[in-house]
């Protein structure tokens, strides 16, 4: 008899999803001005979870006005007072973490193991971290009395809905800005639950406003004349459109966009851990990760050995119900994304790369894509150049460290990279040559609020996290006395 793990579903009972949600403006939920709504689905089952208001340009205007009004008092609060609210929010997130994890897995499709052990702990950590900065901004190396910018318009993606919210909101509030945030169309729910947490924490009205909707709401938000700061995480295509919108205005802009990271494995790598790192690099969160290690660059002398080990390991990945505690790979977030992954994977095959996926039973409803790898990939293939944003790994080989650097850098992106070698001097040499905002050594997808995150080239500009993350929300310091 084999050791078959019985289903171990996390209970849905802990989360109470209302049939419909309004927009969170000036401390209250209200319907969209034009009454429009849309549905949000559970990607694992295509079940409708709730109906959500579709924000219009008029709603954007109301939200920005509320944020502007709140800015006067919020920015005037002593940092230590703002910190109290942020600490309170962080603690409430910890207290409600199981509920939020289940909600996130339902709306996004990611495995509960990840939302429980990765997303939620990091969300709380982000608020705790920036709460600590709120009364120490004078000592953050931006000069004395650095000032907030005003109203921040923030647009976030669907891959880590609550985590991306925390990356945006925590530093903005700590530095004294107020916020209008638009979550992604396919994953609005956790942001709406966060709105409830803001109320629970007694956060003054208008400091945080949440507008749900599609791309038009996001476009209206970034174009709004009374927004002082735009922060966007998402695709490079939309990022470019936002940069064009913001060009010529006095809005400050940070963009965290796509990636096509190289995970570089040398012949002296700790092989078992490198295999884990490669798997974690591309199959974590179904590959819906901007810093995913979607290109495996392996030294030719160990390529066969590594690929055998990688295939053996991929065959043990458990794909299925996101709420099952033993699931490793969950559902693709939307039909649209599934279509894009399918299209690119098919292109890989038709361009001559060899496709491999372990045998795995995929559920009949919902959006699913088996963990897949391509061998025989060259730099010329689309799957080596375009961001798939799915569980698809392209395997390329190299002969020397210099060739590894050349191939790793040969991409329009520059968000992250991984180096696997037991030789410290080589790690350091590689890190200095790689044009990537984050370089991991013998690990991958390791994130921490204290560490700045951001890209080079078409992966965007500006940094989130760490002391650097404060800079995006602060104006240059004013001479003593001039400060209002």
């Amino acid at each position: 008899m084999a050791f078959d793990y019985a289903p171990a579903p996390e209970s849905r009972a802990i989360v109470d999803i209302a049939p419909s949600y309004g927009l969170f403006i000036d401390g209250e939920f209200r319907e969209a001005a034009d009454g429009k709504v849309f549905k949000t689905l559970a990607p694992a089952s295509e079940e409708v979870l709730a109906e959500v208001a579709q924000a219009s340009a008029q709603d954007v205007d109301h939200a920005v006005k509320a944020a502007r009004k709140a800015f006067e008092t919020w920015s005037a609060l002593p940092g230590a007072e703002r910190a109290k609210y942020l600490f309170r929010i962080a603690r409430i997130i910890q207290e409600r973490s199981r509920e939020l994890a289940v909600l996130e897995s339902l709306d996004n499709g990611k495995p509960i193991r990840e939302s429980r052990d990765f997303d939620l702990p990091l969300v709380a950590a982000h608020f705790f971290y920036y709460a600590g900065w709120a009364d120490k901004l004078d000592h953050a190396s931006f000069g004395a009395n650095p000032r907030p910018l005003g109203v921040a318009g923030q647009v976030i993606p669907w891959n880590f809905p609550l985590l991306m919210l925390s990356w945006k909101i925590a530093p903005a509030l700590a530095t004294g800005n107020t916020v209008v945030l638009k979550p992604a169309e396919t994953t609005p729910l956790s942001a709406l639950f966060f709105a409830d947490i803001c109320r629970q924490a007694g956060l003054p009205k208008g400091v945080v406003n949440i507008l749900t909707g599609d791309g038009t709401a996001g476009a209206a938000l970034v174009a709004h004349p009374d927004v002082n700061k735009v922060a966007f995480t998402g695709s490079t295509e939309v990022g470019k459109a936002i940069a064009r919108t913001v060009a010529g205005t006095d809005k400050k802009l940070t963009l965290e966009l796509g990636g096509k990271a190289a995970n570089i494995v040398f012949d002296d790598a700790p092989i078992d851990q490198a295999v884990e790192g490669v798997v974690n690099g591309i199959f974590f969160n179904q590959g819906h990760v901007c810093c995913a290690g979607s290109r495996l660059l392996v030294q030719e002398s160990v390529a066969d050995e590594l690929l055998d080990a990688l295939k053996r390991r991929m065959a043990t990945l458990r794909v299925g119900d996101p709420l099952d505690k033993n699931t490793d790979v969950g559902a693709i977030n939307s039909a649209e994304q599934l279509a894009r992954i399918t299209e690119l994977a098919d292109a890989g095959e038709s361009e001559g790369a060899e496709r491999w996926a372990p045998a795995c039973d995929l559920p009949s409803s919902g959006y699913w894509f088996a963990p897949t790898l391509f061998t025989g990939v060259t730099q010329a293939h689309r799957i080596a150049r375009e961001e798939v944003f799915g569980p698809v790994l392209s395997v390329l080989t190299f002969r020397t460290p210099a060739e590894a650097v050349e191939k790793a850098n040969n991409t329009p992106y520059g968000l992250s990279a991984g180096i696997w070698t037991e030789k410290g001097s080589r790690s350091l040499w590689m890190a200095s040559k790689l044009r990537a905002g984050i370089v991991w050594s013998n690990t991958f997808n390791k994130l921490d609020p204290t560490s700045p995150f951001g890209g080079y080239k078409e992966s965007g500009y500006g940094r989130e996290g760490g002391r650097h993350g404060l800079e995006a929300y602060l104006a240059p310091s004013s001479p003593k006395g001039e400060h209002a």
Partner: protein, 344 residues
Amino acid sequence: MPTTVPAYGSEAAERLASLADVTASDGALRRFLHGLPGVDAVGLDARAATLGTRSIKTSAKAYAIDLAISMIDLTTLEGADTPGKVRALCAKGVRPGDGAPRVAAICVYPDMVATARQAVADSGVQIASVATAFPAGRTALPVKLADTRDAVAAGADEIDMVIDRGAFLSGRYLEVFEEIKAVKEACARPTGTASDGEAKGATRSAPGGAAHLKVIFETGELQTYDNVRRASWLAMLAGADFIKTSTGKVAVNATPPVTLLMLEAVRDFHATIGVRVGVKPAGGIRTTKDAIKYLVMVNETLGEGWLSADWFRFGASSLLNDLLMQRQKLSTGRYSGPDYVTVD
């Protein structure tokens, strides 16, 4: 991949002979062991921790509990051990109660082997004996070999030897290798001394056959993961039937990452020459929850083929009662408490 043969089979010796060049000299052996891929400690710990989050419920838990019971080397290794104590342990191991399967073996000091042998009779429970000046191993080789032969002659089916950590840590790998080989030879059962009640269990060596050899590394003393991987290969090359983490007598005994690493070494050794070796974590595994984490590691590293007492053991004493209590809880829905399992 080559066809699979068990480490204790006669074909294994031929397979090992194919690697004779790496054990031909101290230099060759050192180069081979130091040429094994390194271990990244952070990554290994993280993988073991992730596997530890598997949620094993209902039918899977029932299967795992019975499997774990059947894999226990029920152990007493105390200065205060008496024939009475050993007989009590044997009775428990043979019939843990409530229809639970028997344990794999009773593990005792060499002077208790005869008592244990008689007590388990023809139940199929094996007798394992520690030997080679357990636990420190700090005595001369002839003494270690005599210790081993004595235990085998008294009826031990399995010998749990300790490696010379001093020799290993000072880099005298060939010395450690030769010592394991010598102990393996001492495991041969001289004709005519075969004990009663044999050939019942699946792993029981045939009458007159050699006792199976488990090689203990005392990983808490080897300290680094690189050392554990090297020791694993060293022991397997020398003919170990099982590799075992610890004596249970030092501060750090079996841990999930160390065991995972040894499972990976066994997997790689098997992939290389097709010889199948068993793994035994020992010391510090006291709860059902812990035992299940180990079984998950075996399942996801080596697969179904290793999920039997032939290839995986727990060196433990108090673990059995916790498994029995959880077993009761699972079948009755209630937790009966420690007074409903026996103190042995």
